[in-house]
């Protein structure tokens, strides 16, 4: 009988990541609607303390999957372990945080189970007794509602920031631990993870900046960057960029803002010619005031902007520079 919702809690180097708690909050919310129990699974080696930490939440059990081959993440070992956990737990739905690690193994796991996996969902609801997930298409410009077909277990991952960590409900007493017996044959693990490292050390710490002027692909050409530099100068701001601008080498990588770059929260964030893909927004949506200038009125960046200007940045930025210098002169 497929019963529970199973949340896969991600840990790295003995630390549970934030998005896993978001997934746990989501699972608890959904479980209330569906009247189903919630279970969690943690995987690794010598991580009993993490299982205890998770067990403080309101859960029907925490499944602890330990094996020496789970100490360092590999897609092969994680999939083999989760297949065994899923066989034991027989969940109705497996919920995962949409982290880089989950991107790496969840499609493989779903395929091995003969199921489809709804990746990067932003929400769910019940519709005529059917569970419907929402995911974004076209980089956030369109939403799609999708339901599962076929038999459980179903698998879905949740986009960063779609649910709130502070909504996790604690239990009255610690949830019971289920120790899973995980067998993994060493030769089944085909890849070998080596050291983790950061590229060249950072010379700017954008996290400290009060004002950031950030530029996206709307700048069109490297030469046009001088306009943005002038604006940053006039505002006493640091300059940042979206990934394509850094990929092209127009700005150094260390000025990239987003999931694979820096996370910032300045008092003022000016987004110029940035569409607002989720991977960019996770890095800046905590800013106090967000101003977006974009020629596309439907650009997702406006969803987080306090002030929006729909128009051509090459017309607006020069006017802005003029206005700032007038103001300063006063």
């Amino acid at each position: 009988m497929s019963e529970a919702l199973l949340v896969v809690m991600e840990q790295q180097e003995g630390k549970l990541n934030r998005m896993s708690w978001e997934a746990l909050a989501a699972a608890q919310q959904l479980a209330r609607e569906l009247s189903r129990p919630v279970e969690a699974v943690v995987m690794g080696q010598n991580i009993g303390n993490l299982a205890q930490e998770v067990a403080a939440s309101q859960l029907s059990c925490v499944r602890l999957a330990e094996n020496p081959l789970l100490e360092f993440y590999t897609p092969d070992a994680y999939c083999l372990a989760l297949q065994q956990v899923i066989a034991a737990a027989k969940p109705y739905l497996v919920l995962l945080p949409h982290t880089y690690q989950v991107r790496d193994f969840a499609p493989k796991l779903a395929t091995a189970l003969g199921r489809s996996f709804l990746s990067d969902c932003i929400g769910f609801r019940q519709e005529n007794g059917e569970l419907v997930f929402t995911r974004q298409l076209f980089q956030g410009k369109i939403n799609a509602d999708i339901s599962f077909a076929g038999d459980p277990p179903y698998l879905a991952s949740l986009q960063a920031g779609s649910f709130r960590v502070d909504q996790v409900v604690s239990g009255d007493k610690p949830a019971p631990l289920e120790i899973e017996k995980i067998a993994i044959a060493a030769e089944k693990v085909r890849t070998k993870p080596l050291e983790k490292f950061q590229e060249a050390k950072r010379t700017v710490d954008l996290a400290q900046a009060e004002i950031i002027v950030a530029v996206g692909r709307g700048i069109k050409e490297q030469e046009n960057l001088s306009l943005i530099l002038k604006l940053a100068d006039a505002l006493g701001a640091e300059i940042g960029g979206s990934r394509p601008v850094c990929d092209s080498g127009w700005l150094p990588m260390e000025r990239q803002i987003g999931s694979s770059g820096q996370t910032v929260a300045p008092k003022l964030y000016l987004a110029l010619g940035i569409s607002g893909a989720i991977q960019h927004m996770v890095g800046m949506k905590g800013s106090r005031t967000i101003v977006a200038i974009n020629k596309d009125p439907n650009a997702p960046i406006f969803e987080v902007a306090d002030y929006g200007i729909v128009g051509n940045l090459f017309d607006i930025v020069p006017a802005l520079l003029e206005e700032i210098s007038k103001t300063k002169g006063r």
Partner: protein, 263 residues
Amino acid sequence: MKILICLKQVPAKDSPPRIHGDSTWIREDDLSYEINEPDSYALEEALQLKEKHGGEVVVCSVGPARVQQVIREALAKGADRAIHIEDNSRSKADSLFTARIMAEAVRPESFDLILTGLQSDDLGLGQTGVILAELLGMPHATIIMEVQVPDGHLSGQFKVKRELEGGWFQWVEIPLPALLTIQSGINKPRYATLKGIKAARTKEIRHLTTEQLQLKPTDILEGQRLRRVYVPTKTKKTEFLEGSPQEVATKLVERLQREVRLL
């Protein structure tokens, strides 16, 4: 080294998607198309590997007749030949279907290395490559920012650099045959030359249909159902500043001074 690269054609970034009246899908005829951005980096990586180590680069694309445009572009940049799997039915559906089609088509060819983009700009599933690897029984690594081939022996372990969150990276050793999903920014994609465009005209494009692969959409376990698509409703109250550039500049500076107390 025999390299396969999976190229997806996606709506161009400046081509706004509009929804059909019945909310079932977008109006595909309204759109202009281009190569999925990470895929063009994957193609460049394949071409560079071939230039350094020899071998063959084969392009595979699943989709309607229009995808030949991206196939030609790849051939013009230097890919050796292509496989076009014509599919009008289900290209918008789940990645399992696309991956199944590609797996059937490429399995007999025994590629040493398969490269895909890490994610498509339109559907954003980030799954097709990993599923293809699983179907072909290959190891995989995702979000790759560098590929190192050990000197002399192509059959051995590759070293690949995976991007992790927040500016971290990790080296991973992976044996061939393998599948890698490539992240944007790994290299500088080249432009096609006039000579390349000419040469592309005589290169082989093999056409396959799902029927020839003996796959029918109905044979494949349907794991999900697309119910509707729609434009998301705004939840945040954005104050839009309107007027001429001068007017919006004045309004913005006013607000920055008054409310944000900067300047």
